[in-house]
């Protein structure tokens, strides 16, 4: 019986210790991604969630043909209606330390020669969608000229015409760092 009580107390104490799972901000882990997020509500407990992840080293090193930095913005439409998008009417700005830079949502207009060199599948992936269906997740790709992308983005401002005011995508863990 004393053995049982000892085992029980040990189990309770071990359970109370912090688990080594998850990604606490002060664990010294290298390569932590910065996650910029924003939400827009659409009815009861439903929302559209916008997320961009940037890893510092890769963002500094990688570019498309040395000309454009690429950000992948994931849009999770949790609403019951389509989210209409338009490459002509929507706009995205990336905030850097030296100022805001307008990103391009349409690589075919920004760099036609580069666009034409891509294969059909890649062009299909990179084309700005016309809408995002209810309960679906899509990615859009934002292209920023390398010459303007100095340092890490502080945030993104994404204006979707059908949503009204622009969304501010911020690093939500910044305050905790």
């Amino acid at each position: 019986m004393p053995h049982m009580i000892f085992l029980l107390i040990t189990h309770v104490l071990v359970s109370a210790l912090p688990h080594p799972t998850g990604d606490p901000p002060f664990n010294g882990r290298k390569g932590r991604k910065i996650v910029y997020t924003a939400e827009r509500h659409c009815g009861q407990s439903r929302q559209i969630r916008f997320t961009t992840e940037v890893e510092q080293v890769l963002f500094a090193l990688n570019s498309v043909q040395g000309k454009f930095k690429v950000l992948r913005l994931q849009i999770e439409n949790g609403c019951d209606t389509d989210l209409k998008l338009s490459a002509l009417n929507d706009r995205i700005d990336i905030e850097f330390a030296e100022g805001d830079v307008q990103g391009s949502l349409d690589l075919s207009a920004l760099a036609p020669a580069l666009w034409d060199s891509l294969d059909t599948g890649m062009r299909s992936l990179l084309t700005y969608p016309a809408h995002i269906e209810p309960r679906e997740t899509e990615s859009i790709f934002v292209f920023v000229p390398v010459s303007s992308a100095k340092g890490m983005p502080r945030g993104l401002r994404y204006g979707v015409q059908t949503l009204g005011s622009a969304l501010e995508l911020r690093d939500r863990t910044a305050a905790a760092r």
């Binding site: 349409d106 034409d116 059909t120 299909s124 084309t127």
Partner: protein, 341 residues
Amino acid sequence: MLVRVWELLVNLLSSRPGTQVLQPVLALGTMFVSLQVLLYEWLERQSGVVLSLGTYLRSYLFKQGAVGFIAIVIVAGIVGRSAQQANPQSWRKRLANTLPSLRRTAVVVAVLAVAAVVIGALSPRQVQSIRVRFFGTPTFDKYALAYLLYELNGQQRSWYYEINFDEFRPAELTTVERETCQRDSRPLLCYAKAQAAGRPFIGITSDSLGEDHFWQNDGAVSVISTDEVNPGQSPRLYEYLAHAVVVNSMMIHLNAFCGGFPRQAPGEQRESYGGLFQFVPRRQALRPAILAAHLSPTEEELLIKCFGPDYVRVASRVVALEWLRTDPIQSELERGFGIKP
């Protein structure tokens, strides 16, 4: 009765001098006819289609049977001769016969190899899977159509519909492709060709096709439109879509793998018998054609010649749309997609 006739014939041939030379010819002829009868029955059972004698004589199976039969007769002749010579002989004679017997073996192998190549060349063509993509945002439930296409995939094993759920946008094209298609009189078909990249492809849209009402086809590429379909009338929208996809798939397979489907003479057509590949003289004339859709004997012959009995059996079943009107599928359409029968 037939046995009696056969006996009389055999007696006649064996009793009369000079007729013995006809015996092997008659034997071979009988074997050939028997083989072809067996092949005909097999083909009929496999395809579920009653073939006319003329159709069968033009079919790949008759030709394959003939080639195989000739090869076997030649091989049997060579082996038979060598068996006759295989009487007890001295080792000197056997050694002297080694070279001719090697030659005979080589001839047998060559005959069988040539027959195998010819039979292979006469075999029905293998068809490729067809990619399906939506052009623009459809006014119907694309997932309901996907369900029907998956049901069609379940009807056969040799090829499939592969669906890309990302709606096509002209912005995906290269600069040259976009400019070319904008100038084209049939821009949607032009987009489809650019997307197809030489492989079978069907684009489905709710937009108008301009001068054409229901679909456009060029080679291995088709575009189907629901713009002219009245969803309140029979056949309903999904019946129309299933019919259009099945018919266009056959046209694509015939174009891509068998020299094309039978086109009518150019010019305005006023009459129709409701053939699958026939010009529809009036928009409303497609409705009865869908409701009574079937393969005509000419179409069966064409498909069996090109793709074999299995393809024809599946095609005649799916084109009739009986599978779509069954209770399980109708109830899944209603339960899963809110589409009422």
